[in-house]
Structure formats: C-alpha cells, structure tokens
Symmetry: none
Subunit: 123 residues, 4 copies
DNA sequence: GTGGTCTAGACCACA
DNA sequence: GTGGTCTAGACCACG
C-alpha cells in the first residue's frame, strides 16, 4: 500500500489518498474484493490523522469504489457496471487536454501519451 | 466570454475561472493578443467579487497564459514555447484516465473520447 | 519576529513582509524547518489585515522560501538547491550598485559595504 | 538612448525608465552635462505616454540625477558631492544580497559578481 | 486552530 | 479607466 503524499501540495491530503487509491484500482494493484488497511493502520503508516484517512475512505465508498464489509473491514468493490463517465471526470479531462495543447503537444503526442498512461494502468 | 460558474462546487471560483479561460485559449475562442474583459467587467458579468477575478487573472499570468500589458489591460499571451507538460497536468490526467477505465471505458473508447475532446479545442 | 513596516512607503506592505522574511532567512534568524507565526498572529502583531499577510506568505511559498505543511502551518523551507540567481535579483543589484557609485562610493567602498552586509547575514 | 522596457513587468514603466537612466549615468553612457531626449521624443521612441516619461524625469530631477537647463532642456547633473548612500539603496541591496545567498552564492561568489557588475558600469 | 476563500467597498498607482 | 492594494469581517475546508 504505497502512498506518496505531498504535505505541502495544494491538493488536500484526503484527496491525494482518494486519487491514489482510484489509480491503484485501475492499475490492478488493488483488486476487487481485496481488503484495504484499516483506517488506523493507514493513518499510522502515512503519518496523517485518522480523520483524514476516514474522509478519503468515506468518499471512495460514496463513489462506489470501496465497500464496507462486515467481516473484513473495507474492501475494493467488484467491477461496477459500465456506465457514462462522470461529468466531473470529463471536465477535468478537458482542462488537462487544454493544458497539454497549450504546452505544445499535438494530436498525435496527446494520443500517444494517453495510450501510454492508460496502458500503465490495467496491468 | 461565457463562463459557467458553479457557486456550490468544491472547486474555488477563481480556479473555475482559471480553468475555463485555459480551455477557452486552447479552444481558440480566446486568441493570442486578444484583450480579456476587465476585472470589473467580468466580475459584474459573473456576479463575483473583483478580487476573485483578480486572483484568477494573477494565477493565469503567473502560469504564462495571460499578460498584463500595463497600457491596455490583460491580454492572451502569444504562443508559449513548446515544453514539457507540467507534472501536475500528468497527475490529473492519470486520475481522469483511471476514472474512465473504472467507468468501463476500454482503450478504444478512451482514445475516441480524447480525440473528440482534443478536436473540440483547436478552433 | 520583529517586522518594521512602513505604511506610507511606496512598497506594498505584503512586499515589505516578503522582503524582511527573505532577509531573516538569509540572516539565520529564521531557520529551515522553523515554524512561522500564524497568519493571524502576524497580522495582529503588525496591525495589518490577514489577507495582506496571507499574500506575503503565498508569494514566499511560490518562490520556494516557505512551505505550507498542511499539518503544522507555515515553515521555512529546507535549503534550496543552489542555482542561478534570478534575473530580477541581478537587475535590482545593478541599480543599487549604480546608485552607490553615483553617491560617490568607489570600487573598494562598495566591496567593503557588500562584504559587511553579507557578513551580517549568515548567522 | 536605448531603453528596454517590459510592459508586462511588475515594475512600473516610469520606474524602469528611471532605473535605466541611473544605470546609464553610472555606466558613463550618459555623461554630466549631456542633453537627454525631450519628453515627447523619448515617449515617441518607446511608445509610452508622455506623462510616464515626464514622471520619470521629474523623479530623477528630484533625486538630483538630472537638471532642467534653460537652453537645452533636461541634462545630466554634474557629479554630485560624495555622500552617504540613501537608506532605500541599502535596504534594496540587503534584500538582493539575501536573495543571492539563498540562491547558494557564497561570499566569494558575491564579491566576484559585485565587482563584475560594478566594473561594467564606469566605462 | 490553521490556512483558504470570498465579499463589499474603498483608495491608490499607473498610463 | 485600468489593475493593484488593503480593510474588516465572515465562512469554510482541512487536519
């Protein structure tokens, strides 16, 4: 459960945890049904407040990425039925693509970059 | 200069303004050299405080997207020299792609989506 | 944390705060890792608005002199990797040296003055 | 009369003009008694408002660097009697030296840099 | 308790 | 008329 948290980042810590767990699930490093560290364990490991980890977990449950499990605490949800991507995802994606374009990346560059990043996940 | 601000969003208003202007420049709706609305005008139009708009403009200047020509207000910068994309852009992109994958989009779906969004920009 | 602000100066207050903190770090009065007064405390102490102090801190963060550890307020950054001095620093230095020369200080006078000022910093 | 003005700089244009004239005098490019361009001429040449140039000239006269001359407009003052450097000069110098130190320049580096910059003037 | 955001409104510096 | 600065005070997000 390797998390790299930047305590001086603009992005709130709970959000960083949330994001990295999402990436971890997409990656395959976290598999459906797999148990996550307890809140206290993860808090101790990363040196953050338990409330912060709790908030991240709560957010992830609410989004459907995680589930509470009676017997084994918090586990990764099974594959969710395919659906429309969230509007917020599209908005963020649009901003990122704009930034890439303005950094001088052409259509091909972007396609290659996206393919590479997508491939990195799903291993 | 149509901005759609969501006042109850988690994303700060000045950040929303910043993001939409970046998208607008990538779009081609805002062209290099073009003058932006004055801080006061944009504040009035959107119903936010001048300081909020000011903060967005300052952020954009600092990132190099805008320039404050002391004689003629705030204008869109000329094309910036191509460079490496920001690390923060890549991180955000990685998260968005993970969310798409977990929403059930395959490699091809994502490629199509990205191509479409990228094409929407650029005129 | 003694700051001497001149409220009738041309130099904006937040810039004065920024400058004096930079001098303080170079001095050694503020050491890497040391926590700075909270925005509120410094605002109360100096009699300026919190937003003014906030702006100074934000500027210093952006320049890398300070870090906002989300857990423990604002602290002095560790030693930054040596690098080329900023162009703006050199420009300001060139102007100051010209003023000294025109005030009648010769090469040796300037060398002595600079050495003295530099020595005052550094512990 | 080569001025390089940056219209998107933080530094006001009149201040940039003032600074560069001071450096020019220290340089020796502008010599005591030498006539400066008229306000209108300099304004036309640099593309700024006459009021801006006027403000710079006024400031320079007030500081004693320039003098009004009945017959030939504005001229560079004769060498001023040596005196104590201005407090504002020392303050700015102290800030610049702090920035240099924090950029990793040691005592020797700074001495060399200052000597070089000082030598560049006075040619 | 910390910094971050935002407002309403004022004043100033600049061009 | 433009952006920049500042205030007093409020509210919120974060940890």
């Amino acid at each position: 459960m390797l998390l790299h948290l930047e305590f001086d980042s603009d992005i709130p810590i709970y959000q960083q945890i949330r994001d990295q767990i999402v990436v971890g699930i997409a990656d395959g490093r976290l598999r459906p049904g797999q148990q996550l560290p307890t809140i206290r364990a993860l808090a101790a490991e990363t040196g953050v407040n338990t409330m912060t980890v709790s908030k991240a977990y709560q957010l992830l449950k609410q989004e459907g990425y995680l589930q509470a499990d009676r017997r084994s605490g918090t586990v990764v949800s099974g594959r969710r039925p395919p659906g429309e991507p969230e509007e917020s995802t599209l908005r963020a994606l649009r901003v990122s693509l704009s930034e890439l374009r303005l950094a001088g990346l052409g259509k091909e560059d972007v396609a290659r970059l996206v393919e590479r990043l997508y491939a990195e996940g799903g291993k």
